[in-house]
Symmetry: C2
Subunit: 341 residues, 2 copies
């Protein structure tokens, strides 16, 4: 299996991306890792690591920066690692593509150079949100600030298939994010989407509330990219706040300092591991006609390794074929009984 | 100053509401606390407390339950504590009204029996969100699942006035919740509201992101009631998750258990105090023609005491007069230059 890595993607690229690739090559020797980026940069970084068996390198001299305007950049920077990767995927010269770079860039490059699965109206960006009991697959977290009810319906179907096939959750529970748990709660968009999702052959549980995320009450939660983005970033801010509060709480008196001295090396790594995005590595851009995963901009080398693993899992599960088949089978009707979608 | 308490409001009413009233009467002897609820229940509960100077009691035999449909309940239960309280406020027989009961009921009763401030299109429900540096005033958190751009504009004005007058933040910073910090990021609603808010004579900083909440980067953040509700409940779920993870992290080995034994009585109360909704007690339903505050359903007696204090602060600051004046002065124009609102 051939998974390509965008060497230039992420806040700490190319150092940590190359380091992550080397780690992944040892952890998952069955994956052929293809490095996409400027040849000289890749050679220079690889020279720092002696303990690997070499990588296939695909030269791409341009870089789509975090600050670039996505749609514009993918049109003008045709020799960027993102565009080159999508083209390789389109030609089936690779099986999957992972980047921790500009998410909007990956989305735009994916739509333009790789294309959508037949029937998919909008690809969705997803995240595996750490919860009290494992994780919840949340989508859309930012690809679509404005949605229509049938986009949300498609997100529900794609999310359910991803949870079942890739995350190996049998009969995954799916809910739609709303401002109350009872049916009938929601804004107009959610109320309409609810009726469409109900018609899908999935395990739809109705409304989720914000608290269901941390509590881990559902396998999949569907929302629009505006709300999903705010939820994810709210969680990030609260994690930073909690860390700061804990740090303060382990100060002030000798016994609190002792508690901190014991907690930091023993308990804290467990909390960190349970909540770290690095463990997950990458989440898919669902709806594209190929396996495309994106990671957090601040990905560590370990996160890069896990992103490559997550891409492998998605390829192995044939998720693109599953969504393609799912899309072709779904027939839904609107309020008047006319066929939709 | 006369502040009325809905004795029947909250998951632990009437025990903790009466206990909170007794606590408040000692902490804030300058407040005349009026208890609204069934006379016999109030007498029975007050009999458990010997250490108070008595309260004025207003009989209200009916109760709007947490499970009641708000709009329906306030029409049929005219002798409920919520309806009676709003009528007293309307007649200016009390200066402020606080309840930890059914928030939708308070909103519906407020709109029906008290009325809105002239010019206010929709009252907003608010929360003081605990952050790394104090708190952020967040509105709307659930009164309006669907909004229009000019509702958000009014929320921005009301929130700014509340932060300045009641929370005593000089020249408070105001931002609108969006899915990116740059101007131009947002869904259609936010993009339109942004242009309207820019025209207000307030300290508008542009877009906020979810992470700005925990980091405490703004005094006021404006959003629709759908998003605000999800954000608040996401934070609740994450707090529960963090508590559970910490509990686990203080288990497993003797040194971790020692760390927990030291942390729980020393550091943890500080973390709890910094993040507890009980410290804040209540947040206003802004836009009603009177001082109305609501508390969390699970309010403790201490939260009830703080809710009564928060109502006092709102009355002292003349917030209703300030919003009335603010509303009358604001003239905004739409894209074509025509006057709006």
């Amino acid at each position: 299996m051939r998974i390509a890595l965008d060497v230039m993607g992420g806040d700490h690229a190319p150092q940590v991306t190359i380091e992550g690739a080397v780690m992944a090559s040892k952890a998952y020797p069955e994956i052929e890792i293809i490095l996409i980026g400027p040849e000289d940069v890749i050679e220079r970084e690889l020279a720092k690591h002696k303990d690997h068996n070499g990588f296939e390198v695909v030269h791409a001299r341009e870089v789509i920066e975090m600050t670039d305007h996505p749609a514009q950049a993918v049109k003008t920077k045709k020799e960027s690692s993102m565009v080159v990767g999508m083209q390789l995927l389109k030609k089936k010269e690779i099986d999957g593509f992972f980047s921790a770079g500009n998410t909007g860039g990956m989305l735009a490059a994916g739509i333009l150079y790789l294309g959508r699965i037949r029937g998919v109206k909008r690809p969705a960006l997803s995240a595996l949100f750490p919860t009290m009991r494992g994780s919840t697959f949340l989508l859309d977290i930012g690809a679509n600030a404005d949605v229509k009810p049938d986009f949300l319906q498609q997100f529900a179907l794609m999310g359910s298939l991803y949870a079942e096939r890739v995350l190996k959750r049998p009969n995954p529970t799916v809910a739609i994010m709303s401002n109350g748990e009872e049916e009938g709660k929601g804004n107009e968009m959610v109320l309409e989407a609810y009726q469409l999702i109900k018609q899908l052959p999935i395990n739809f549980m109705g409304n989720a509330e914000g608290r269901d995320l941390g509590l881990g009450n559902f396998d999949v939660i569907v929302t629009d990219g505006f709300t999903g983005n705010i939820v994810i970033k709210t969680a990030e801010g609260l994690a930073t706040m909690t860390k700061a509060l804990l740090k303060d709480a382990f100060k002030g008196d000798p016994l609190s300092m002792l508690a901190g001295a014991l907690f930091m090396p023993l308990g804290f790594p467990r909390v960190k591991k349970a909540t770290s995005a690095d463990e997950i590595g990458g989440a898919p851009l669902l709806g594209l006609n190929g396996v495309v995963l994106v990671g957090h901009g601040s990905s560590s080398a370990y996160a890069i390794q896990n992103g490559i693993r997550a891409a492998r899992d998605a390829v192995q599960s044939n998720i693109v074929a599953a969504i393609t088949e799912g899309m072709s089978q779904v027939k839904v009707t609107d309020k008047e009984g006319a066929e939709v979608g």
